[in-house]
Amino acid sequence: MMIPSPWRADFPAIAALQRQDQTYLDNAATTQKPQALLDALAHYYANGAANVHRAQHLPGAHATQAFEDSRRKAAHWLNAGDCGQIIFTHGATSALNLLAYGLEHLFNPGDEIVISALEHHANLLPWQQLAHRRELKLVVLPLDVDGLIDLDTAASLIGPQTRLLAVSQLSNVLGAWQPLPALLAMAKAHSALTVVDGAQGVVHGRHDVQVLGCDFYVFSSHKLYGPDGLGVLFGRHEALKQLRHWQFGGEMVLDADYQHARFRPAPLGFEAGTPPISSVIGLGATLDYLVGLDQDAVSAHEAALHDYLLKGLEARNGIRLLGKPQLALASFIVEGVHNADLAHLLTEQGIAVRAGHHCAMPLLKSFELAGAIRVSLALYNDSEDLERFFEALDQALELLR
């Protein structure tokens, strides 16, 4: 059965990669970009770049207008409504570090921060280091056999000492939706702040921060078909009031003299220095493009491709999946074959997949693995991409066995 992607031609890099005999299946790391984004970047730079929020001149007004339009579009993408604000950062990692430093004053020795065993280093290390700085306890929620955060154990670990819960919506290794509603409810019952790492989740389907009810939601632009160097932090108004200023510099200040300063509230107070203006404008164009797609058709396509991927992997001997992937990606190892050898031979055949620990070393260690191969999908992939991957996999395994 063929699964063509009706959106493939919207992404010019896919054809370019194909001309180089490359099949791109590393989309959980970063994605190719739609023509709409390329056009927006070219338009901005060709028609007059300017800094935002500073100048009274016309180019500055145009740039600021486009910049703030993107903020509105990002809020709309998450259905933030009037419940909060969008802060632009330099990446999802920056956003999580902003939270770990900006909320630091709320923690006292002995308080607990709760994360899960599947966190990407970006949603582990900022909290781990905060815990070291403030003598806090970092509580790690274990996973069940399917790779989901175990709710029974979570119920016993999230308690009155919990000040903050930070969890991923969708693991970049296991590819399964985490039970966020139940976890967020547990945290809220103890008045803990809640942070959702949506870096992978935001790319698949639409999410509603009002329904989720989290205090903060973080994602990175480049994984959502947008430019790199840009992260998006949604914060609920009440939660943002507790966030202290972290990085200091241009345009985040209300009033300054040599010895003292007063700072702006969110969002500008948390966007010190010149922001990644072109990337913000580019993300706006990407979001316009994505909003124009039939979301049900995209979800159905991604589900069909994922099913095709799983069936193909299951049809081959000796392949062991990590967890029980539901969508977007599958990580696996092959019994008796070193993942570095397999990665080497897939690379030789022009298959762009990821091998290694996927920036989640503790998770891989818990599987007692040094690494795994990850195939991750995007809306422009089709069944031919997967066929090329399977052919290369068979060739590689024939050589290695």
Binding site: A340, D341, A343, L345, A355, L399
Partner: protein, 134 residues
């Protein structure tokens, strides 16, 4: 500079190889022929960090000539390391410092294995060898 005999063999074999498949088979053969590294040498102090697989490298000067031994739990990197040792074992300290190792892999048709984004660890092995060689 005269090439060691093993290096001459490696060069002839790899330059005659057609396509990735044959190169991969050859790499695995070379890896399989690498003398076994004793467990006593497979210790953390000899680990080359920065590799996806476990790689160990030990080296010492014997009668003023370098003798390296190495191993890995992955087969293709073991082959790459075997090709490296074929080029450097038996060289004097001065000769080792003069040898252009990236160029060696280039001549073998394996330069892509040294690209900075490759995490196979060959770069890390070369760096470790430089450290050992002073």
């Amino acid at each position: 500079m005269n090439l060691p005999a093993d290096a001459v063999t490696a060069l002839e074999t790899f330059q005659a190889a057609a396509g990735w498949e044959q190169r991969a088979r050859l790499l695995m053969q070379w890896g399989d022929r690498l003398p076994v590294l004793s467990d006593a040498d497979k210790v953390d102090a000899n680990r080359v960090h920065g590799c996806e697989s476990q790689v160990w490298l030990v080296g010492s000067l014997e009668n003023a000539h370098w003798q390296f031994s190495a191993s890995s739990d992955a087969r293709l990197i073991r082959g790459l390391v075997a090709l490296l040792l074929a080029r450097v074992n038996g060289l004097s300290a001065v000769e080792l410092r003069q040898v252009d190792l990236p160029e060696w892999f280039n001549q073998l048709g394996l330069s892509r294995q040294l690209s900075p984004s490759r995490s196979n660890g060959l770069n890390a092995v070369l760096q470790r060898m430089n450290e050992l060689a002073g």
